[in-house]
């Protein structure tokens, strides 16, 4: 004879257990069909919650757009950039001598263009909620604020105001955490997408996705997908990707000021 209390006792145990096991399988990974488009709620300690390690020294590998990045391209070379007529008119008037004379040397070193420079990056945690990126080329500093950070009022700046969040993937059982960093930057001072005067305006916004990839030869690569929108100077979002290789130390780190003709 079955014990009259045994059946409901098993049910109360197994039913929630079954649902608990099934539910995670029913729920889409964060971002669902749209990939990593979904954002995790702001963690209390973004540094501790980091699903990837961006810190350390990275060196850019310049094997795309070489002639636009390693040297200054000729005036009126606009290939690939979805420029509006207003942008073309602006860029046609580019005069490097005038930029030098005015002391405006860093126009191609703003946030939308800085990761196209041949450079080293040094990424560190400034505190538990703030990631800092320094570049040797142009000696620029970007600051990525996590959580509910609000930008203080102020004029546009070269590196703008950047808000960051982790986009985490639910890892397979037993796998290490995966994810990426999304950074949205606004309040940008106008500058150049390319050194030959291809402009972005103060209406531009920048969205970036940072992914860290481990290659089978042991290299660790940082791939940054860069999306610049600018209703004034771009007729569609300007989408490019830059990649960097992780270094063991600061080899090659060589701070140099912004330049116009080089």
């Amino acid at each position: 004879m079955r014990h009259r209390f045994s059946k409901p006792r098993i049910s109360r145990t197994l039913f929630p257990l079954t649902i608990a096991l099934a539910l995670p399988l029913l729920l889409p990974a964060q971002g669902g069909r749209g990939g990593r488009g979904g954002a995790a709620p702001p963690p209390d300690n973004p540094k501790a919650a980091a699903p990837i390690d961006l810190t350390g020294y990275w060196v850019s590998i310049v094997d795309e757009d070489w002639r636009f990045r390693m040297v200054v391209p000729p005036p009126r070379d606009y290939e690939g950039v979805p420029m509006t007529p207003a942008a073309v008119k602006f860029a046609d008037a580019w005069d490097p001598a005038k930029d030098e004379a005015s002391g405006d040397l860093c126009r191609a070193f703003g946030a939308p263009a800085i990761l196209r420079q041949p450079e080293h990056l040094h990424i560190t945690w400034q505190d538990d909620r703030t990631l800092r990126m320094d570049t040797d080329t142009g000696t620029q500093t970007r600051v990525f604020h996590f959580g509910d950070w609000k930008a203080p009022p102020g004029p546009p700046t070269l590196q703008g105001n950047s808000v960051a969040l982790w986009e985490t993937a639910r890892p397979a059982r037993g796998s290490p955490p995966h994810g990426s960093l999304k950074v949205v930057t606004s309040n940008l001072k106008a500058g150049y997408l390319r050194k030959n005067g291809v402009p972005y305006s103060e209406n531009a916004d920048l969205t970036e996705y940072y992914d860290v990839l481990k290659e089978h030869n042991g290299d660790t690569m940082l791939v940054v997908t860069i999306v610049v929108t600018d209703p004034q100077y771009l007729h569609e979002p300007f989408i490019i990707t830059s990649h960097f290789k992780k270094q063991d130390g600061d080899a090659g780190w060589k701070p140099t000021p912004c330049t116009v003709k080089w």
Partner: protein, 293 residues
């Protein structure tokens, strides 16, 4: 049926056909914007532009022997491209998953063929790569794994093909690791090309796609060799030291030969110091200058 049995059956049914954790949907038609490397991914790169390619001496010599009319050889008209063309070609891609009809599990992800590139079938079922002496094809053999929500594919067994469409070549020992990364409506591909025959270190490039407003039809077009002016049995080429196009990058962009001829060092920031003192900005752009419409 007890509540236990019902819940257990529900759980089993729910598990069937569901993807493993952390898989996302990569399927659809993806258009290439070609905002970077627009020339290389559009009409084709400048002749003599090997900047950033980590050539060894053999890779450089092979590239400098190349004449563009090689692709008009009757023997090569239908040779098509290897899978590396997905990273350097002009067009978008179409992706879908191939599911097992019984279990519903994804057996393979497929990057559809284009007219000059065969389909990439990324086997997800754990099958091994063929042995090293197995036949090679333009499409090669590809397996994949999910790393978080990044699909990483590994391709081997390709025939020799183009690294850049101006004569830079890959050997039949080359392998490609391709990462498919989706961020909302942007699909980014990051690919590493290893080639012990022509490169001193991996060649790494990245590119992004966006959803295509129109369907990209996957098709491997039939190819019929025609007469394109190159006689059968001849191989258009330049002998060592006779390639007249090695000065092309200097003429157009003031990029010196030591940069244009590639080598791993040309991809690193420190290389700029070598050419800094001699570089001057060209007076104006003379070719392929227009912005993207």
């Amino acid at each position: 049926m007890t509540r236990n049995q019902v819940s257990l059956n529900v759980a089993i049914l729910l598990c069937m056909g569901l993807p493993a954790l952390a898989q996302i949907d990569l399927s659809g038609s993806w258009a290439s914007k070609n905002h970077e490397d627009a020339l290389e991914r559009g009409a084709g790169p400048n002749p003599g532009d090997f900047t950033g390619i980590p050539f060894n001496d053999a890779g450089r010599a092979k590239a400098l022997s190349y004449k563009q009319s090689q692709i008009s050889m009757p023997e090569r008209i239908c040779a098509f491209y290897s899978q590396w063309h997905m990273m350097i070609g002009t067009f978008g891609i179409k992706m879908w998953n191939q599911a097992d009809p019984v279990s519903g599990k994804t057996v393979a992800w497929v990057v559809g063929a284009w007219e000059d590139r065969d389909a990439m079938i990324i086997w997800m079922d754990g099958r091994p790569h063929p042995g090293k002496n197995a036949p090679h094809t333009q499409s090669g053999f590809t397996t994949g794994v999910w790393e978080g929500d990044v699909l990483t594919a590994y391709t081997t067994h390709m025939l020799t093909g183009y690294l850049r469409r101006n004569g830079a070549m890959t050997s039949d020992q080359a392998t490609i690791t391709t990462h498919f990364i989706r961020h909302g409506d942007i699909l980014t591909l990051a690919a590493q090309l290893d080639d012990p025959v022509y490169l001193t270190e991996p060649y790494y490039i990245t590119r992004s796609f966006v959803p295509s407003p129109t369907v990209i039809n996957s098709a491997g077009m039939p190819c019929i060799p025609g007469d394109e002016g190159v006689a059968s049995g001849t191989v258009p080429h330049y002998l060592p030291g006779e390639n007249p196009l090695v000065e092309e990058m200097m003429k157009l962009y003031h990029i010196p030969q030591e940069a244009a001829l590639g080598g791993a060092q040309t991809a690193y920031p420190a290389f700029r110091d070598k050419i800094k003192d001699t570089f001057t900005i060209p007076p104006t752009c003379t070719r392929n200058c227009a912005p993207r419409n």
